[in-house]
Homo-oligomer: 299 residues x 2
């Protein structure tokens, strides 16, 4: 793949995230759009269809996939993007991490990639969905979080955070236990599934059970078209960063997922401030004696 997308932000990120679920024709359209936003903003549906050798229908479908109600809105967004790019074009360079990269270069590239990933995630995060998810978590009687493999760590991170502010939460990485517990959920409870691929059966199954039992369900996934979203009331899309052999997408999705988790956490903490703040302080006090009193570490 010799795609040379400059770090044009949200659009390129969206493109990467959704590329797998695009058909060939849509891919062509998306490529044209991502490659020359300014130019495409000047075209009508018909013109863009002609330029990409496709049909109006495909252009509209692509626009929809990219998250706009139709081509008209994509076009507006394109114009906006072009203006933004023209305003400040940082144009950072990012090569893939290679086997023979010296260590300093690895560190720089990794840091840069992850920064980019954070920016992309923040840019494309659906705030309405986030708001809804936060609302659900803030009022949940209890919250179950499902994650397997690398996503299991993210699930645990979310649970640790929720526990710290006094919410009742459990992380499950055993599919059987997860389902067993999901059966207990009912309306007012929340279930969160975390899966990069969006198709991890072991995580979807408990979410489906929770969904069927009336719990509010949230999916944190890199594939908004994945099977997991069938059973999700709220979908939070993580951004897929550039992949390379040594650092495949599935592995680097973590950064994006964790940002989403942090956003959820802060959102919930804000909404439940009265109980969250004392709980946070309490957890510090409780941990203080666990640290050997060497210097003044209680900043």
């Amino acid at each position: 793949m010799k795609e040379t997308f400059s770090g044009s932000g949200a659009l390129a990120a969206k493109f990467r995230t959704l590329a797998p679920s695009m058909t060939r024709s849509m891919h062509r359209v998306a490529e044209a759009v991502a490659g020359d936003p300014a130019g495409c903003a000047k075209l009508t549906v018909t013109a863009l269809a002609t330029r990409t050798g496709t049909s109006e229908a495909t252009v509209v479908r692509t626009a929809r996939l990219l998250g706009y109600p139709g081509y008209r809105d994509l076009r507006l967004a394109l114009a906006a993007l072009a203006a933004q790019q023209a305003a400040g074009a940082p144009a950072a360079v990012t090569a893939n991490i290679a086997v023979d990269d010296p260590l300093p270069s690895v560190v720089a590239k990794l840091a840069h990639d992850e920064q980019q990933c954070l920016a992309d995630t923040a840019a494309q995060l659906d705030l309405a969905q986030l708001e809804a998810a936060v609302g659900a978590l803030a009022t949940a009687r209890r919250t179950d979080v499902y994650g397997i493999g690398a996503s299991s760590l993210v699930a645990q991170d979310l649970v640790q955070k929720l526990l710290r502010i006094g919410r009742i939460a459990h992380a499950h990485n055993d599919p059987h236990l997860a389902v067993t517990n999901a059966v207990q959920l009912r309306p007012g409870d929340v279930a969160v599934a975390i899966t990069h691929s969006g198709n991890t059966h072991d995580v979807i199954e408990p979410l489906r059970v929770a969904f069927d039992h009336g719990a509010t369900t949230i999916a944190v996934t890199g594939r908004p078209d994945g099977a997991v979203t069938q059973y999700a009331d709220h979908v939070l899309t993580t951004s897929t960063s550039r992949e390379s052999e040594l650092r495949p997408a599935a592995m680097s999705s973590r950064t994006s997922q964790l940002l989403v988790v942090d956003c959820l956490f802060i959102g919930v903490a804000q909404r439940t401030y009265d109980t969250a703040a004392p709980a946070l302080s309490a957890s510090y006090e409780a941990l203080a004696h666990r640290h050997t009193p060497r210097r003044n570490h209680a900043r």
Copy 2:
């Protein structure tokens, strides 16, 4: 783009210049447009006509007067202008996250903070220490990783990654078991302690034991002067990001720690490429069937 708006004032300037030649109705339209470009960009001709209490015809006439071929183009320009204005004012993301921050602001601030944290970490990371740590891990007979609480997740992340490339690694978050296992270590083995505070007794203790038994010891900590470094052959310092009430340092240290872990991982993967690459591929294949088969697009 032929039409280049030099600044956000361009529209207002045009408005002033052309105001004399405008009729009353056109004036109302122009005023609305100049006053809220972003908002007007969202409206159709009809909607804008209604909002200004005029007709579509008038709106189109105004657009023409402002120098555009029609309303459609004015609308695009408006969207571009709005984006430019938004980009020009990157907002005070430097501020702490407050209880009453709206969600969009929280997302922006979090993303910004974490990006900053990554940059800081990469900048101050001691490459010589990293190199040494990578060398030790790459040749280790086995690796034990200690982490408690939030750092436990980081420890697990490192272990998961090492396992994927065929290294033998274990994560311990039970202090007793950690010590029990540390006793088994000997020269040629590696022990890694992850602690933000640098003074977490439960993590220091197993590292000390490992150190005493001749294992190579690595500390990943935010406090290079912490107690943990006494028993560490190599110290990797993570950066402490800004803290706030809702997002204390101990919690945000994760980002920094994970970057270090990633650097270690890539470094080791490079050095053991011959075994790492096949192991990586194998782990994908093994996991493939775990994802409900959905679609497979040629890319």
